[in-house]
């Protein structure tokens, strides 16, 4: 579903973060991108979101070259990106409003987009109905992130990009939302690419883990983790072994 062809990217006046980087993601896969600060993991996600433009090379999603944000890609950020002046319901409806604003032009909105207001369903499903008329400042961190998820799912994406979405949440809320993300991805047949700096999160969610080195990244280092997402996986020996391996690899890089 996602192909990066000789992707090179760097910020002006800085060394490149990616150099001739080739990587592919198949439909329905759940990926975690792991790496220490400054390795370029968030930049890679923004490249996939169409918010950054490659210096050279190209990115292909669903057979099309990515030149701008793609209407069927959902992006969820650590800071939620909610409008402070809009209620939970209004925030969740935002994606649909943007689509309604442009109409199905194929550029901002998919051509075959069926305008179906599933916001009430997602609010109910994500446990937000009771706070639907509250503003973001009145919510807990977990509720804010659920609102961002509801907003993204309401526009029926096929690819979900998440940038350290749960890192500012407490441990219990974080695990709840990780499990919710896993079940929603399976249920909606979403392809997931999640950026994280937390080894445990990458091991719990990523059926495949892309470990990024210090820049510039050229070769891909991928860890298969097919059991991720299965019940009780977090308490298994395989999970702990993988965490150990990832930890050693990351330590080795930064040493």
């Amino acid at each position: 579903m996602i192909y990066t062809h000789d992707l090179t990217f760097g910020y002006p006046h800085h060394a490149p973060l990616f150099q001739d980087f080739n990587w592919q993601v198949q439909r329905g896969e759940m990926w975690a991108i792991l790496g220490s600060s400054g390795c370029g993991k968030t930049s890679l996600l923004y490249l996939l979101a169409g918010l950054h433009v490659p210096t050279s090379g190209r990115i292909e999603i669903d057979g099309e070259s990515l030149l701008r944000p793609r209407p069927r890609t959902g992006l969820i950020l650590q800071d939620y990106g909610l409008l402070p002046w809009a209620t939970v319901r209004q925030n969740a409806e935002l994606g649909l409003q943007v689509r309604d604003f442009y109409g199905p032009d194929g550029k901002h909105t998919p051509k075959n987009f069926q305008a179906e207001n599933k916001v009430p369903y997602w609010l109910e499903r994500l446990g937000l109905s009771a706070v639907a008329d509250k503003f973001p400042t009145q919510l807990s961190g977990g509720q804010r992130q659920r609102t961002a998820i509801a907003r993204t799912l309401a526009v029926q994406p096929d690819l979900l990009l998440m940038d350290e979405p749960f890192s500012s949440l407490d441990a219990v809320t974080r695990e709840d939302l990780q499990n919710l993300t896993l079940s929603l991805c399976k249920e909606q047949n979403l392809t997931l690419v999640m950026v994280t700096h937390a080894i445990e999160e990458a091991a719990a969610l990523g059926q495949k883990i892309l470990l990024l080195d210090t820049a510039p990244n050229q070769a891909t280092r991928i860890f298969d983790n097919p059991q991720a997402g299965q019940p009780d996986y977090r308490s298994s020996q395989a999970y702990h072994d993988l965490c150990q391996t990832l930890w050693r690899e990351m330590r080795h890089e930064t040493a």
Binding site: Y46, A49, G50, L51, P69, P71, T73, G74, L75, L77, Q78, D79, Y80, G81, L82, L83, P84, W85, A86, L94, G95, Q97, V98, R99, F101, Y102, K107, H108, T109, K134, F135, T137, Q138, A148, R151, T152, V155, L161
Partner: protein
């Protein structure tokens, strides 16, 4: 906001406090009038009687003319400055070009332009409205620009990832984000607006509260009527202040939740 929270967000509480404050001021005024005991400071009761009497004999027209000038100047400045502030704040390149110009012009006290505006636009209503426009224009421009430029990048990126292009960003982010900035600029400028309105109404007009106050005080020596004019002008400023307050509660309810 702190006020609203402290008093449980009840507007009635605030109104009661304001009522008692007004009553206190009237008592101070009465005591001062008794102490001074000269025609240049009549007591509040006498002035209030004259005020209501004068309302039927032209004061209302003067009030209406001043209100029109202030409202027109405010509306014009919002309509021109807010979109400009949004455009400049929303574009790094435009901000780079215009910021030094705004930086130079913003601190100049616009009241010094009064004679120049009169020279160019004559002495009618247009000049008076233009001066109010000048004062508010920069306040609104700067606050809206800062608000637009200071929007968290995550907010814009989230919207862009949902398919929003430039037009949708303006419609769904920049425009609603500018509302509180416009209202803050208006609230901050009401005092100056009314003060400058008074000054402009001293020149070549027979209508407006500035004219009314000056004419009664300096030509007719009718001090109670002069004070009635001062009350009307205070009510004008206070009314506009309350209106902006109410607009903010109505348009920006998210600022008043805890």
């Amino acid at each position: 906001m702190i006020y609203a929270r402290r008093y449980g967000g009840k507007c009635g509480m605030k109104r009661r406090d304001i009522f008692y404050s007004a009553l206190g001021l009237l008592v101070v005024w009465q005591v001062a009038a008794v102490l001074v005991n000269r025609p240049i400071l009549p007591g509040p009761w006498q002035v209030l009687l004259v005020f209501f009497e004068e309302l039927r004999h032209g004061l209302l027209i003067h009030f209406g003319v001043s209100l029109w000038r202030a409202t027109a100047g405010m509306a014009l400045s919002v309509l021109v400055a807010a979109p400009l502030g949004l455009i400049i704040g929303g574009s790094k390149n435009l901000d780079r070009i215009f910021s030094p110009i705004i930086y130079l012009l913003y601190p100049i006290p616009k009241v010094v332009f009064v004679p120049i505006v009169f020279l160019f636009l004559g002495i009618g209503d247009v000049a008076k409205i233009a001066i109010i426009f000048l004062i508010l224009f920069f306040q609104i421009l700067v606050l809206v620009r800062d608000q637009a430029a200071g929007l968290p990048p995550q907010l814009l990126q989230s919207l862009r990832s949902l398919g929003a292009g430039r037009r949708a960003l303006f419609r769904f982010v920049y425009l609603p984000a500018s509302l509180p900035a416009i209202l803050t600029a208006l609230r901050q400028s009401i005092g100056t607006t009314v003060a400058v309105l008074y000054i402009t109404e001293l020149f070549a007009t027979k209508y407006g509260l500035g004219y009314y106050i000056y004419y009664n005080g300096s030509t007719l020596f009718d001090y109670p009527a002069m004070y009635a004019g001062v009350i009307a002008m205070s009510l004008l400023g206070l009314g506009m202040y309350f209106l902006v307050d109410w607009l903010e509660r109505w348009l920006c309810p998210w600022k008043y939740v805890s």
